[in-house]
Amino acid sequence: MIHVVTSANRHFYESELLTHFRLRHEVYVAERNWKELERADGLERDQFDNQVATYILAIDKAEIVGGSRLIPTTHPHLLSEVFPHLASVRGLPRAADTYELTRMFVIKSRREGRMMGGQTRGMVICGVLEHCLDNGIGDLTALVEMFWLPLFHAMGWKLIPLGLPELISGEWSVAVKMPIDKTTLESTRAFHGITGRAVVANQLASVAGTAA
């Protein structure tokens, strides 16, 4: 199930967040070899993992199996600080209802088939969408590898490129804006065969349950 962690409830999730930073190090540094993210403590954390970050955590029987991060575009974020030139054609959208999506991952043992993730990935993406729709977020921005575009197209998403693709850490990547609404959530659920809500109804009770 999906848990949403913000500055308001993160004191309930300190150990889960730490595990999630460790898993990110495994996925991005050990597996994908993004050397610049390597940290001596084995926790992949950057300057955007701060008080304004929102974390979407997929937790299955107390095990963190995937996650993602949302940063308000009115604050410094990856595209604004590190890759602004990738939005040079259309410009970088920055608005209160626009959040940047980064660090979407599924742990290795939960990936199925050639396309990463399967059901777990579906839960993470639906969790992101539910959280956004619940909170009036109408646009996401992201830096995505080009090879992900067909999957998101197939899930019924609209991806508006902001600039030409560029090679980043060996992968062709592009900055995109993604308008999202109820239809996006419905088609994403249908694509993954998910019927109910991904975000848990009573988060605190549920996390207390997993800790016990």
């Binding site: 259309r90 396309m115 059901q119 090879f147 575009l149 197209h153 197939a154 062709w172």
Partner: protein, 243 residues
């Protein structure tokens, strides 16, 4: 061709227009005009199956010169085509000339490349696409003297991705379901009856199979469709036109 061509504008104009193009024919015309601005005079959008599967059933949009597809099919070139082989191994766009092959050891590969030239397919550029559910596809284009500047190639990468997405969306709605089938007849039968709400036992009775065989076909279909549950397999099969 002006040197001042704004590649990103050409790419973004096309992408903006794609949603408004309601038939594959319109996409084909618009894409042809756009690629011509880069010096590419012909193109193909297709799935890229593993040989010995044939290419032809996977073609989505055929803008090759007259006679080339016929010759390619008749000569059974697909299994030896070095460009197609390289496409199945990379997610990064490449110029055809970068597709490696050993002319000594694979004279057939050299023949494909040489005969292609006779059809005006001198220089080519290919954008590989790992479509949803792991299908490999590509947008490939050729011309006598195309523009190979890095900025042009980046724009073409974007154009290829979006043109392919639009075609799959349109063909998904229009098609008779003859394309890109990956399920066997039996797997389709079993999922089609599942979609009608029948249990394994009921399907076994209807099709005259054992319940175990029915379940085995369901498991095979789930694997092929990258589905976890039977319901998900049914949904994916419906969405992709398999049933």
């Amino acid at each position: 061709m002006g040197q001042s061509l704004d590649y990103s504008k050409v790419a973004f104009d096309l992408i903006d227009d794609l949603d408004g193009l309601t038939t594959v024919g319109k996409v084909m015309t618009r894409l042809g005009t756009t690629l011509a601005e880069f010096g590419y005079t012909s193109f193909l959008i297709t799935g890229v199956p593993e040989p010995p599967q044939k290419l032809e059933p996977y073609i989505l949009l055929n803008g090759w010169p007259r006679g080339w597809t016929e010759h390619y099919t008749r000569s059974n070139y697909y299994a030896d085509d070095p460009v197609a082989a390289w496409c199945r191994r990379t997610v990064n766009p490449f110029e055809w000339s970068q597709a490696p092959f050993d002319a000594e050891r694979s004279p057939r590969a050299a023949e494909v490349v040489n005969v292609a030239r006779e059809f005006g397919l001198d220089h080519g550029f290919l954008v590989p696409i790992v479509a949803s559910m792991g299908f490999q596809a590509c947008v490939t284009m050729a011309g006598e003297r195309p523009n190979c500047e890095p900025r042009a190639k980046r724009a073409l990468h974007l154009i290829g991705m979006y043109a392919h997405a639009r075609c799959t969306a349109l063909i998904g709605c229009e098609s008779d379901g003859q394309r890109r089938r990956i399920l066997s007849e039996r797997e389709r039968d079993v999922l089609a009856w599942s979609a009608e709400g029948k249990s394994s036992w009921e399907i076994a009775t209807i099709l005259g199979l054992s319940e175990r065989t029915v379940n085995w076909h369901v498991e095979q279909a789930k694997k092929k469709l990258d589905a976890v549950t039977r319901t998900q397999a049914v949904i994916k099969a419906l969405r992709s036109g398999e049933i």
